[in-house]
Symmetry: D2
Amino acid sequence: MPTHALKIGLIGAGRIGRLHAEHLTSRIPSADVIMVADPFEEAARSCAERCGIPSYQRDYRAVLEHPEVQALVICSSTDTHAQIIAEAAQVGKHIFCEKPIALELASIDHALAAVKRSGVKLQIGFNRRFDANYRRVRQAVEQGEIGQSLVLHIVSRDPAPPPIEYIRHSGGIFLDMMIHDFDMARYLIGSEIEEVFAQANVISDPAIAAVGDAENAIVTLRFTNDIIGTISNSRHAVYGYDQRVELLGSAGAISTENNYSNTAIISDAHSVRRDLPLHFFLERYTESFIAEMTAFVDAILNDKPVPVNGHDGRMAVIIALAAHRSLVENRPVRLSEIEQ
Amino acid sequence: MPTHALKIGLIGAGRIGRLHAEHLTSRIPSADVIMVADPFEEAARSCAERCGIPSYQRDYRAVLEHPEVQALVICSSTDTHAQIIAEAAQVGKHIFCEKPIALELASIDHALAAVKRSGVKLQIGFNRRFDANYRRVRQAVEQGEIGQSLVLHIVSRDPAPPPIEYIRHSGGIFLDMMIHDFDMARYLIGSEIEEVFAQANVISDPAIAAVGDAENAIVTLRFTNDIIGTISNSRHAVYGYDQRVELLGSAGAISTENNYSNTAIISDAHSVRRDLPLHFFLERYTESFIAEMTAFVDAILNDKPVPVNGHDGRMAVIIALAAHRSLVENRPVRLSEIEQ
Amino acid sequence: MPTHALKIGLIGAGRIGRLHAEHLTSRIPSADVIMVADPFEEAARSCAERCGIPSYQRDYRAVLEHPEVQALVICSSTDTHAQIIAEAAQVGKHIFCEKPIALELASIDHALAAVKRSGVKLQIGFNRRFDANYRRVRQAVEQGEIGQSLVLHIVSRDPAPPPIEYIRHSGGIFLDMMIHDFDMARYLIGSEIEEVFAQANVISDPAIAAVGDAENAIVTLRFTNDIIGTISNSRHAVYGYDQRVELLGSAGAISTENNYSNTAIISDAHSVRRDLPLHFFLERYTESFIAEMTAFVDAILNDKPVPVNGHDGRMAVIIALAAHRSLVENRPVRLSEIEQ
Amino acid sequence: MPTHALKIGLIGAGRIGRLHAEHLTSRIPSADVIMVADPFEEAARSCAERCGIPSYQRDYRAVLEHPEVQALVICSSTDTHAQIIAEAAQVGKHIFCEKPIALELASIDHALAAVKRSGVKLQIGFNRRFDANYRRVRQAVEQGEIGQSLVLHIVSRDPAPPPIEYIRHSGGIFLDMMIHDFDMARYLIGSEIEEVFAQANVISDPAIAAVGDAENAIVTLRFTNDIIGTISNSRHAVYGYDQRVELLGSAGAISTENNYSNTAIISDAHSVRRDLPLHFFLERYTESFIAEMTAFVDAILNDKPVPVNGHDGRMAVIIALAAHRSLVENRPVRLSEIEQ
């Protein structure tokens, strides 16, 4: 471990927490995870053991109070994010927090105010910005390869719905799933969204309707600079994780395809076929998770701006809330309605 | 020419009229074009000469009154379609009419009533239904290859805008261009659309805004059976004619790609590239134009139902009118609002 | 029919003869087939009826002697080609002849000498030169898009072997099947082949071995200018007609893919797949058959050089004979060994 | 580091040695590199420092004699491989050795005899066997997805020739470059090669001819079970590392494509294009290098057979020597001629 490695405390040892723990300890030499906390003591313990983290605790405050911890990685449940951010900012720890910051705007604003007062860095976990495909699209926009942006389309589908109990408490498809795509839209276009219109349905999985959520959803976007676009989500793509964007510009278009575990094509008497795309986010976005964490560690060690900040985290939630209201009221909703 | 060939009179010898004339005379042995009419006598004359049509006239009524003409192919300007359909029905001629039937619902209903009274066959020129790619999608839906349909996306872009004078009188992007996609949506899904929401912009070509039309437009669709979807149009795809659909179903998805003049891939020191897709509708949809006309001739000679009827032509216009109203009023519009 | 149309006599009304008859009568306005001959009178009659050819005969000499016939299209059995070419040249008819001219060099040279003496035009039926994919490769070579040519690979596979009786009398895989690829190699590279080495096997279809032919064959090529390459044939590609080339050059590479009846991709729980490629040569090379015949008619009507001449036909046979000798003797064989 | 980690000594800290050092120390937790040796002391020192290896030496014998070292990873120059293997076997160390074992058969046999006597494990560095694309092809063969194998084609091209001094001492294109493909052919087919025929040229880079080597080479293969195939190598593919195979079987075919850093497609007014494939072996085969070393460590720790053994290393050299003789003598050469 380099002597100048960033000393990190991890809060939350669930699926995503363990993922970050593994990357931070085995793939990012400039990071040093020195403590992990989880209310499930067994989760904290096994994560510590597996990743060689020297200390674990049940209470996240132990991490906050640890004098050597320089930065937190917050992977606890969503309802705790804003509170932990605020407390961490007060004790001067830098913060990486998984999305979303919170499901209500007031909590987000409270947390961001604390961050602003303290001057610590806060990065939000929109990992897809670090994916090579989307980076290439953003690069094309920045370098003018396709001229002025005109129309954006994002498709983002999960291979199967999560457990119905998860959906029930997830905040709904816009806050739980499409929030990544709202951030992606802002990232790719580089300007703000002004108004959204949402449509949704439940056809093949009635249990999702029973808990008040959508199986499939489409949101139409209007950006402040008149660019328009759509985001199409589904919880039900039996062929796997479907993650694509396409952007039409005045001088051309750029689109991305799914990623696959191999390039082999089999032609037999029935069809010309290949294996399914990488199954889900753990397989598809591994490198982007490592890259986002590397960028966070680098931003702190070298005092750079974080690549995804609190404003980004806040805007994605605002768009999701606007989309939800649009769906309920069946009308286009301006983001300004939510912000007031 | 087989003795039982269908005797056809062509009305309108503009671009699309000449196209049909060529196909009918050289590619469809069971058709016999015996007269062509166009108010521009020179257009009628040169079309007749080029295609070996024995007679030409300025006045379309000469075609209507020709005793041997069994069927009309109407390719005159849109504002004449409904009137000619009505007159043709009264004299018992079968009718193929280019889309749209008319830009106002009252005219359409008047024409369709005449058709109904007379019992002649009326086919509307939604040629894309006969394209092999879309046929394959429809086949997948019908044969259950992708289960229940959930979400539909259609992309349809022209390589460049038509002349601004054309746009000024075109009826707008929904009636002029997206009307094909409205029909495609109904065809692929096999059910009716209930409500639409439209967005549009003009960014790279301000002249289009000056005549009150859109450069790019997106319409969100809700079908009566809860399927949702989008149609994305652009008049400005510099890389050529971009014509694709994708349909997500409960057991899989199906998508189509553009067609190309060759399959060659060149890899050099800069990129891996291929030539642009087929440039525009004449190249892209040649076979579908032949197939639609073959189907029309077959429907009459063998007394079968036409594959695209007056109801289809009427619905596409209603959807376009609803989309237009949605754009003007910035709200979702139900088709029932237009039909009353 | 234009009054200046080329008057053609067709000799041979088998599969390929009927194909050309159909194209000449329905797709090539500048051609006028006025007589067809086939020893099977019924074949000649039904071809004439189907394509509207005014006269048919059993004896090909009736075509040769017809005073109005300007050009012959020879689609009779291979063993008659050289003789008919010689006779036709003597009576001053231009000639299109299906490949191969003959299976022995002496016959070819006799026929070509007669052609040379008479000054008539002779085109050989290597239709693949007129295919859009290969044209694009040739264009890349001519325009220097990939620099100097270095290495060529051709893959050419049939969906299934022909009947074993056909194989028995076909002259073997090199003269019957790979001959197209030998011509393609010369066409794409634009220089002569100097030496070949052949390998072959029979694995899945022992009946082919029983008649002394190969199921799969590979020939290595060396051109006079040091370019090297391979041709890979198989009679047994269960997925359909597999027709591809790739050419490496000093500034890049170009490769072609198979052609398909539609572009639809289906993703389901098992694979991402598309329908099989166009099944066989009738589907795959339709446009190239029309283009070759159009070029033949054009060459005569406008007194241009034919695009595939007797030398081309002769060289393809020489290469095939060299490949056959290489296989029998298991050593590289120079073309000069065959020509002596 | 797990307490049971395999203690490894690394011999050779050049490009490939440093690559393995990095993977062994950061990506393979069950390995523990405890010493590195290189005659260039500075190379050994910087490798040790960079990867946290506790000890470094100039003399490889220090590694051989280190009592705790259980296994060697030999990445020294080719001419030292056989000697070090023999010495290592004598002192009972397990061995991973980069390809080729040696350029002469006698040296290889001497080394393999020592290995056999001692009973240590020896794995040869044919990393491509661990690549996901080729694994998928092998899996298709093993599971019968394409029936019986009939014809194999391998294309393997480098983005640019190595320095001419490297080529001069490399042993030639067959031993230096195509050796990977000879192993791949044996791996994919699962049987031995019986006879080869080689062709080669130098066209765009005369300096390669000046040192007696080839710029492009093609080898035709005949396997003992009659399967035939080709390998096509080029040192001059300006578009990058081109690594593909295709295998025709009696029930279908399987082929692989190159790998890319992203999936983005850009369509502009000139072409539809993507970025170049992964540039060279370090980018293209990263995961396969990690997988081969993981397999080696696993084979020793868990006493399994190594996946690529001394026989595999020996056969690849024999095939390369046969190909070389074939090229020199312009005739097919049986492997049995080399083995005697």
